[in-house]
Every structure is written in structure tokens, then in C-alpha cells.
């Protein structure tokens, strides 16, 4: 299972985070929250093993499904080929995609609702579609752990909903442990079970969303007042909680 124990990473003299214990339970969906520069991406990269820890330990399964903020791939591969690649890599140096891999890629694309786009060129898809293809690629690796680095940050509301909807369905299936970072506490409240909040290098809390995602903690995290309201999703419908940042406090009038 994925996790960090007494972990620390520093750049030069400055510790980005330290004495961090983070071990999500299997099958949980965890949001990583923190202001810019507080180390969300550093934490994600350490979890993935891209960045060596300066102290502490990391444990991780051999293959972790990874969804970057935006793919570095600007190459005009087809969407299905991009998804296939995640499967083939670990079968060895000379492996090439088999019919099995292509079928698995198509199933993964279906799970994210993009089966119709399998033959489209990846670089010509919209930003939201590209993120979903990358999620499909992570699923196609059959990894039990998915790590998503601000996967929905650059998306519009409709595409945020599409992406989070897929994450929510994966969560409901319960076969994946999901860790994602985001600037938007609303995303945490919409799909996450737990939240890791990064206040400072040695100051972090990790707990169930219902407990830690409150006005005090969020206000302290971002340095501005935050209100949480309960509203009906539709007239008479289920209740959803909205996280509302109270803008205007940072710059005195």
C-alpha cells in the first residue's frame, strides 16, 4: 500500500515537508490540500518515487497509476495508443502491445466514458478529454493505487464535473486507493473520503473530510475566511455542502 512514514523532503536548507506520516487506508479517496508553494506537487512526486526522500520511508506497490496535471505528451498518438502504453511498459524491454492490451485500453476508455474517441488523436482532444484519457491510461495499468496531480485544475466546470464524476464512480467501486491534489476544497468535499491539509513544513493534518474540512481549518490553510454552507442540490433534493472563500480580506481597503 502507498504511504510515507516520518518523511521529509528539502530543497537546499528549506524543508518542504518533514515528519510527515501519510498512509491512506486501502480503497479510500484522499484529497491533498494546501496553498501554492506549500508542497502539494512535491508530496505527490515523493509518493510516486520521482523525488527521493531526504528522510523517512516510502512504501509503494511496483506500479502506481499516475495522472499528471497535463500530459507532457504533445505527440499525435491516438488516444487508444496512449492508454495502451501504460500496460506494455512493465512487460519488458521488447514488449509491444497485444490484442489483449488494446482490449483493456478500450475497456478503460469505456470506463471514463470516452469509448467513442479511441481512434482520435490525443493532441487534438480537448483538455478535459485529455485528462480523462490519462485517467484511463492509469486504470489500464491495473494499478491498485491512483495518484492524480491537480487533475482537474485546468478544466472548466462541466469538465471538472465529468472528471470528478468518474473519480466518484471509481471510489464507489472501491477497488482503488486514490490520492489527488487540488486547490479547490470543493473538489475535496465533493469526492474525497479523507483530506491531507498542508499548513507548513511540519504542520499537517490528515483525517476524514467530514471532520477536518471545516471553516477554521480551511481559513487557517488559505489565510482567508472560508464559509461552509449546506444547500439543496435542487429544490427539495439532496443536501450538498459548498465551500465559499470570502474574497476581499487579503488587501485592506
Amino acid at each position: 500500500m502507498i504511504g510515507l512514514r516520518a518523511a521529509g523532503v528539502r530543497f537546499g536548507e528549506r524543508w518542504i515537508f518533514r515528519r510527515l506520516d501519510f498512509a491512506p487506508d486501502a480503497g479510500r479517496c484522499v484529497a491533498v490540500l494546501g496553498p501554492n508553494g506549500r508542497g502539494k506537487t512535491t508530496l505527490i512526486r515523493s509518493l510516486l518515487g520521482f523525488l527521493a526522500l531526504n528522510e523517512g520511508d516510502r512504501s509503494a506497490p511496483p506500479v502506481v497509476g499516475y495522472v499528471p496535471q497535463a500530459s507532457a505528451a504533445t505527440v499525435s498518438y491516438r488516444a487508444r495508443d496512449v492508454v495502451t502504453m501504460g500496460r506494455v511498459a512493465r512487460r519488458g524491454l521488447f514488449a509491444t502491445p497485444s490484442r489483449d492490451d488494446r482490449d483493456a485500453a478500450d475497456r478503460a476508455l469505456t470506463r471514463v466514458g470516452l469509448s467513442a474517441l479511441a481512434r482520435q488523436r490525443f493532441d487534438l482532444l480537448s483538455g478535459g478529454e485529455r485528462q480523462l484519457v490519462l485517467l484511463a491510461r492509469a486504470l489500464a495499468t491495473d494499478a491498485g493505487v491512483l495518484i492524480l496531480d491537480e487533475p482537474a485544475s485546468a478544466l472548466d466546470l462541466r469538465n471538472q464535473d465529468r472528471f470528478l464524476g468518474v473519480v466518484d464512480r471509481l471510489k464507489a467501486e472501491g477497488r482503488h486507493t486514490i490520492v489527488f491534489s487540488t486547490h479547490l476544497p470543493q473538489h475535496a468535499s465533493a469526492v474525497a473520503d479523507d483530506a491531507l491539509m498542508l499548513y507548513g513544513a511540519e504542520d499537517h493534518i490528515f483525517g476524514p473530510v467530514g471532520k477536518v474540512l471545516n471553516e477554521d481549518n480551511l481559513g487557517r490553510l488559505y489565510g482567508i475566511p472560508v464559509r461552509i454552507v449546506e444547500v439543496e442540490a435542487a429544490a427539495g433534493g439532496r443536501m450538498v455542502s459548498g465551500v465559499i472563500p470570502v474574497f476581499g480580506a487579503s488587501v485592506p481597503a
Binding site: P68, A72, A73, S76, V88, L93, P97, D123
Partner: protein, 350 residues
């Protein structure tokens, strides 16, 4: 190098079809170019006579008539060398462009060519035999690659950008050394020989030299063929490739070594033949798309055909032979400029 330049190619539609057909077309082109290369020359020989000579030779007979000697001892090794060199350089270029995710990369970028150039020039300066020239060119090419590896390795790992910059540094150093060798060379004897060799030519190719160059080029090319899907994976960038469990750095160096084998082998027998590794993969990518499973062999076939055709032109266009490197640059650079403009034009219109 600027932002990871996209090597996307707009094909009008959104599907890649008919790539295999292109492979057949390129193979036919290669065959035609090789046959043309053997037939054409100061003494033109009919294709039927060429086939006769080759079948007789394959049957164990040795070359007897003047035509047979020209076909079997002069043009056949030369055409074969051209095909091997063009194939190897183009495949190496395709691999590197994928690896660096940058269409402006070619085998020259790792400093290998400059290193090999120095090795060859040094051997000529010291008046050594052609055997030593080949060995020295190859050894300095590999040394250049090792230097790049050493310089770019910081904290036990090297990233793509550092490797490119280290390649530029090493190339600059060896280029300066080549200039120094030319400076101290005898202007009446060794200097012209060095200059002629540096401009690139297949003029002094013999079966013996073909034999020597074949081994590294074929090993390198076979390696690239076996790893061509791996190049797709590595072309996604370090983080994504690593998340699939790939040991990115190790595999990148395997590919660099294969490229060094190819370009060391080519430079050692034919001098500096530039631009092929840059232009041909581009042209091939326009036609067959970016998937290295097809792109690597397509580049190889097209590169071989191109090189043989250019060499035939170099032999026949004027009374004296035009240096090959001059022609490949004179043709390659404008083609590259056109491709580049077209590529950025389609991108900016997206």
C-alpha cells in the same frame, strides 16, 4: 531547446491508415535507388547486365570484364555502404527525436559526430592507415558520448536537458580540436586530405570498409528496431515513463549507445554526412505518423534510398565528384526549413 516542441503532424484526418503501404513504397524506392546507383556512372551499365554480374558472382565466379569489375568491386560496395549509412543515420535520428521529444535533434547533438571527426582528422594528420582512421574515428565518437554522460550526470542522474547541453559542449570542444588539427596539418598533403574526409564521401569505399562499418551499424539498427515501441513510451517524458515502472535513465543510455554505434560506424568510413538524421525522420513522420513502431523502419528505408540517390547525384552531376556532406546539407537544410514552417503553420492554426 525551447519548450518541448510538439512533433505532431497534421494529416488532415484523425486516423493513421496505410502506414504499411508507405513502408512498401519506401522499400521499392530503396531498391530502385540502389539499382540506379549501380547502373549510373561515367560508364553506364544496363540493369540486365547488373543482374547478370550479380548472379554470376553469387554463383562463385569472379569479376572479369570491366563492367563486372565496376559493378562488383566499385559500385556495389559503394551503394551498399550508402544504403547502410542512410538507413542507420535516419533510424538514429528518429529514435533521438522521439527520445528528446524534439524534432530538431539529430545524431550530431550528442557530440558523437564531432568526436569521430576529430578522431579521423587526427589519424590523417599522423599519416596513419585507413584502418587506424576508422578505429580512431570510432573510438573518439564513443569517447565523446562517454564525456557527455560524465558531464551530464549530476547527483547520480542526468536529465534530458543536461544531456543536450553537455552534447553541445562536447561537440564544441571536439570541433575546436578539429580546427587545431587542421591548423597544424601540412597545407600541401594532410590538410587537403582532412578537409576532403570531413566533407564526407563514399568514394574510397571497398568491400573491406563496408565489412568494418556494417557490424556497428547493423547492431545499432537492430537494437533500435527491437526497442522501437520502447521509444514510444520514453517519448511521453520522464515522469510518465517512470510511472509505468520504466528505468528511464538506463534505457535512454542504451538507446544513446545504439546511436553512437551507428554514427561512429558511419563517420569512420565516410566522414561527416550531416542532415540525413534530421530531415529524413521528419519527412517519414509526415507520411506515416509518429508511432515509432512504423516510424523507425520507415525512416531507415527512406534514409537508405535518399542517401544512395544523393550519392549517385554526387558522382554524376559534375566531372569531379561533389563532396557528399555538401550535397546533403545543401538539399537537407532547405527541405528542413520548409518542413519546419509547415509544421509551425499547422500548429498555430490549430
Amino acid at each position: 531547446m525551447s519548450a518541448p516542441a510538439s512533433i505532431a503532424v497534421d494529416k488532415g484526418g484523425r486516423r493513421y491508415d496505410g502506414e504499411l503501404l508507405w513502408l512498401v513504397v519506401f522499400a521499392v524506392l530503396l531498391g530502385a535507388a540502389m539499382l540506379g546507383g549501380i547502373c549510373l556512372g561515367r560508364l553506364s551499365i544496363a540493369p540486365s547486365q547488373v543482374f547478370d554480374s550479380i548472379t554470376r558472382w553469387a554463383g562463385g565466379a569472379s569479376a572479369e570484364t570491366l563492367e563486372e569489375r565496376i559493378v562488383l568491386l566499385v559500385r556495389a560496395p559503394r551503394v551498399l555502404m550508402g544504403a547502410l549509412a542512410g538507413m542507420g543515420l535516419a533510424m538514429a535520428g528518429a529514435a533521438l527525436q522521439g527520445l528528446f521529444r524534439n524534432p530538431l535533434v539529430s545524431p550530431d547533438i550528442l557530440g558523437i559526430t564531432a568526436g569521430a571527426a576529430f578522431g579521423g582528422a587526427l589519424a590523417i594528420l599522423l599519416g596513419e592507415s585507413s584502418m587506424v582512421l576508422i578505429g580512431s574515428a570510432f573510438a573518439f565518437g564513443v569517447l565523446a558520448l562517454l564525456l557527455v554522460g560524465f558531464i551530464s550526470r549530476v547527483d547520480g542522474r542526468s536529465d534530458t536537458m543536461t544531456v543536450v547541453l553537455a552534447g553541445v559542449v562536447v561537440a564544441a570542444m571536439f570541433t575546436a580540436l578539429v580546427s587545431f588539427v587542421q591548423f597544424v596539418a601540412d597545407p600541401d598533403s594532410t590538410l587537403p586530405a582532412i578537409v576532403a574526409w570531413l566533407m564526407g564521401s563514399f568514394a574510397s569505399i571497398t568491400w573491406f570498409r563496408v565489412g568494418i562499418a556494417t557490424l556497428p551499424i547493423v547492431i545499432g539498427a537492430l537494437g533500435l528496431m527491437l526497442l522501437r515501441f520502447r521509444i514510444n513510451l520514453l517519448s511521453l517524458g520522464e515522469d510518465e515513463a517512470r510511472s509505468f515502472g520504466i528505468r528511464v535513465e538506463r534505457e535512454r543510455w542504451i538507446l544513446f549507445l545504439l546511436v553512437a554505434l551507428i554514427s561512429g560506424g558511419v563517420v569512420s568510413v565516410s566522414g561527416i554526412v550531416g542532415w540525413v538524421g534530421l530531415v529524413i525522420p521528419h519527412a517519414a513522420r509526415l507520411l506515416v505518423g509518429p508511432d515509432h513502431r512504423i516510424l523507425v523502419p520507415a525512416s531507415g528505408l527512406l534514409g537508405g534510398a535518399y542517401m544512395v540517390a544523393i550519392d549517385t547525384v554526387a558522382r554524376n552531376a559534375t566531372a569531379a565528384e561533389i563532396p557528399l556532406g555538401v550535397l546533403t546539407a545543401a538539399i537537407g537544410a532547405p527541405i528542413f526549413a520548409i518542413l519546419l514552417r509547415r509544421m509551425y503553420y499547422t500548429e498555430s492554426r490549430r
